[in-house]
Each structure stands twice: as C-alpha cells, then as structure tokens.
C-alpha cells in the first residue's frame, strides 16, 4: 500500500513535545522551623524606634537562713541581655508579559507571589542554623561520625546544665543517618526502647520529626559547617536558647499592588514596567534570629559526608 499516514510524517501538525499539566517542584530542602514553638518569639520591631530588640534576662536568687532578730543584707540581682537585630530579607523576580501570556502550567505572577512564602521560610531556617553553630559548648569530635555516644553526650550536656525542656535537636541529614547506622548495632537496654525502634520506622523524608530519649529531632541541609567545611555543626537546645523577631511593615504607599501571603509579616509588591512589558515581584520579610542564652544549648560536631 502507499501513502500511509505516519506520525513521523506529520511534523506540520504535530508538536515535538508538550508540557504536563501539573507543575512539580525541584528537589530542595524547604523544611523550616519558622513559627515552631521551640524558637522563642521575642517581638515585633514595628513602631518601636529601633530595629534592635534587647531581650532582658534576669536571675532569681535563693533564700538563706537568717537569725531571728538579724537584719538581712541586700543581694544584688543577676541580669543579662541579648540583642536581636531585625533586617530586611528579600527575593525578587521579573517576568515579561509574553512569558505570562503563553503560560500553560502556572509559571506566572501568582506562582512567584506564593513562592515568596517558601523563600521566607527557607531563609529563616538558614539563619537559625547559622545561629546554632555559635553555641560555645560542643559534643562530638572533628573527623568522626555522629554516633550514639555523641548523641548522649549532647543530651547529657543539657541535662547536667539543668536546661528546661522541651529539647530539640537540629541535625544535618548525614548526622542522623550516621546515628541511625550506629543504633543498628547498639545492644543492651537501649535496643529494647520503642523510641529507638521508632527511629527506624519513620521514612526519613524531608520534614519528618523524630523523638529519641524524649528529645525532638529534625534535619536540615542548612546546618552549618566548621573546620573548613569538613565537619557539620548540628545543635541541640532547650526553649529560650534561640529567639527571633520580625517586623510588620508600615502601610505601603504608592505601590502598584501589595499582597500579604501570610499574615502581615511577609509582603509582596508588584511593580509594573509597562514600557518594557515587565512585572517585578518583590517579596520582603523583616526578620532577625539570635542566640538568647548560650548555656541552654550546645553544638554537635561530626564529620561531614
């Protein structure tokens, strides 16, 4: 037979490729402790007169025995403070009218606006992990894997310092996998504990939260490195060790369009360049993260994968 119609001969009426209808996200660590109760919220810098918030700390004394008729001497009050500086964090995109016009999967202004939320959360986690690397006490050693001994050293460190709970550990993913590998061989009473066994039932996907010996564990790729990028500095802390502050923006005057994708703290402005047919999407978030009390936490040092 002749003149069969094959797909390969229909280049004038066929497309080389089409787009799947659903957009998928590229793999990236988007997990964040933003808004988590483990991190103390110290306040909003809006209309306070300063971008620096001082966190007051005070100690309480204890009584001592005094004779029936003796006058009691004054005892000085133990005070300290920490400062958290709020600074602007931002992300900008610009998209052309043509790009928006031909869009068929949602890569347009609404996506860029919503994406600012994730961008702010990831930025917060990055800042938190940078702060976590500055605890002065540490557990573990350079060049060695994270194992159960290192884990207990950290947990005992907080116990011995009397740090009130709940305690939370933020580890690099390889720190947790090294710990799990070591726990596979752990014998004695610990092998019978359900929380040790539970560690092996949780998939280990991004955002999974574990509990081991009563301490919460989360993982993040943003955990800092030390020793010229050869070691990881995960950290463990009790509530009150780390704090954050943010700032509600003043009413935006003269803006094209302003969107608040999450409450008031993150604001996204749209700016239009009609002549160049471009739409600028600028997300802003005023935030600061800082160490409040060094004694309430410590870092885990272990070999980076």
């Amino acid at each position: 037979m002749a003149n069969e119609i094959y797909n390969s001969g229909l280049s004038d009426v066929r497309l080389a490729q089409t787009l799947a209808s659903e957009l998928a996200l590229i793999l990236q660590d988007r997990f964040s402790l933003w808004g988590d109760p483990a991190i103390r919220y110290v306040g909003n810098a809006a209309q306070t007169g300063s971008a620096v918030i001082k966190v007051p700390l005070v100690g309480t004394g204890k009584m001592a025995a005094v004779a029936e008729n003796a006058a009691v001497a004054n005892t000085d009050l133990d005070t300290d403070s920490a400062t958290i500086t709020v600074a602007r964090q931002a992300l900008q995109h610009q998209i052309s009218g043509l790009a928006e016009m031909v869009d068929s999967v949602g890569v347009a202004v609404p996506l860029l606006v919503q994406g600012q939320l994730s961008a702010a959360a990831v930025r917060f986690m990055e800042m938190l992990c940078a702060v976590g690397a500055t605890f002065s006490e540490d557990a573990g050693s350079t060049g060695e894997d994270f194992d159960s001994d290192v884990w207990y050293e950290g947990v005992f460190g907080l116990m011995e310092a009397g740090v009130p709970g709940p305690h939370l550990a933020v580890l690099a993913p390889e720190q947790l996998t090294q710990l799990k590998s070591d726990l596979r061989g752990e014998v004695g009473p610990t092998q019978l504990r359900t929380d040790h066994q539970d560690l092996f039932t949780i998939a280990g996907a991004q955002g999974d939260r574990y509990t081991l010996n009563g301490v919460g564990i989360v993982t993040s790729q943003h955990v800092a490195t030390v020793n010229t990028n050869t070691d990881r500095a995960g950290f463990i802390f009790g509530f009150g060790a780390i704090g954050y502050a943010d700032g509600t923006p003043a009413p935006i005057r003269g803006a094209g369009e302003v969107v608040y994708p999450a409450g008031q703290q993150i604001f996204v402005e749209l700016e239009r360049d009609a002549s160049a047919n471009l739409t600028k999407v600028v997300g802003n978030y005023f935030c600061g993260v800082g160490l409040i009390e060094d004694a309430r936490g410590l870092k885990f040092i272990s070999k980076k994968k």
């Binding site: 958290i84 990055e126 940078a130």
Partner: protein
C-alpha cells in the same frame, strides 16, 4: 608549606579546565562569615590542641548583624558571650582566610583551604587541604593570636575521650574494634600533647 589554591574566577586557571566550567560554580550561594574563637571551645586535631572556630555569619539579621551588613554589634554580642572574632587577615601571609567564588544565587564563600569542585555542572565534594588548615590553627596558638588553652579545658577534652573509650569497650562488639583502636590511639596522643603543653607552661 600549605598549598595555596587559586581563585577559580581569576585568570590563572588550569589549562585543562574549560572556561565555561569556571565561570560559575553549581553550588548554592553561601554567605560571608568571620571565624571566632572561644576559650572553652577546643579540639584535638593532627596531634595538637587547636581552637574549634565557629563561623560568625555576616548575613543581616543573624546574631545582631545589622541591615547594612555591619557586624559591630554582632561582634559585641559575641564578645559578651566570650567569643573573640579573628580579623580576616589573621594568617601568616596576611591574605584573608576567606575567599569567594561565583555561584548560583550569589557567591560561595569558603575558607582558603577548601577548593570547591564541580564536574559536568554538578557539585562534587570539596577538596580540602586539611594539613594546611591544621597548620594554620597551630600557628594561631603559637603566635598568640589565640591564647593557649586553659589546663582545665584540656583536662575536660581528655576526660571526654576517656569516656568515649570506656563506652566503646563497654559495648563489647567486634565490629567496633577499629573505632576503639582509633579512640585509644587518639587518647594516647592527647595525653602526650597535654604533657608537652604542661611542660612548656
């Protein structure tokens, strides 16, 4: 002498490395930082007690770095907690210990003993001059840039290592023997180094 790495963005590039590969690293941007030391924060590396330096991020909003990136208040806060920041040129040759290369979304800042690597547009593990880095840490102590560790701090490190050896012995697992041997060897080296330090003081 420690190896000095060339900046991949400079003109002096290895002849077998295509220009396109050195234009930008596939690594995500990594913010600038300074290193700081604390009298309580020490480690045992390459046969000596050296400071365990922490990175003080220079990102606005982190630990009191202000909106413009000025770190005066951040340094003050760190000093209140016992840290002392090392100036960027605290090296034998005066060149900064921090370098930067173009990367995705900005610059990848790294210490000069690290050489970030990439292959076919993908990130590889960095090449690190560990000996050079350890040599620099020892230089910091020998020249007094970082004061020598307090004997109590060394004692604590040794006790920590003794506890580690005891734990490994207690686990009594044949597969842990290499780890136990390494821990015992490290403990012996730590005690020897501590004795030498005590003899010098």
């Amino acid at each position: 002498m420690a190896h000095v790495f060339e900046d991949a963005g400079s003109a002096s590039v290895a002849i077998d490395q295509p220009v396109a590969d050195v234009a930008r690293l596939p690594h995500g941007a990594r913010s600038a930082y300074k290193l700081m030391y604390h009298p309580m924060s020490w480690q045992f590396m390459d046969g000596a007690f050296v400071p365990l330096l922490a990175p003080m991020s220079l990102e606005p909003g982190v630990n009191a770095v202000d909106k413009g990136g000025a770190d005066t208040l951040a340094q003050l806060e760190a000093m209140r907690r016992g840290w002392k920041v090392l100036p960027l040129n605290a090296t034998p040759d005066g060149r900064p210990y921090l370098e930067a290369k173009r990367a995705k979304g900005g610059k990848y800042h790294h210490e000069r003993w690290e050489q970030p690597q990439s292959l076919g547009g993908r990130q590889l593990r960095s090449k690190v001059d560990s000996k050079g880095h350890a040599e620099w840490l020892r230089w910091l102590v020998s020249t007094g840039v970082v004061p020598a560790p307090h004997p109590e701090v060394i004692e604590r490190l040794i006790e920590k290592q003794e506890k580690r050896v005891t734990q490994l012995i207690g686990r009594n697992q044949p597969e842990l023997k290499p780890r136990l041997d390494a821990a015992q060897k490290k403990l012996a080296a730590m005690k020897k180094a501590a004795a030498q330090l005590a003899g010098q003081q």
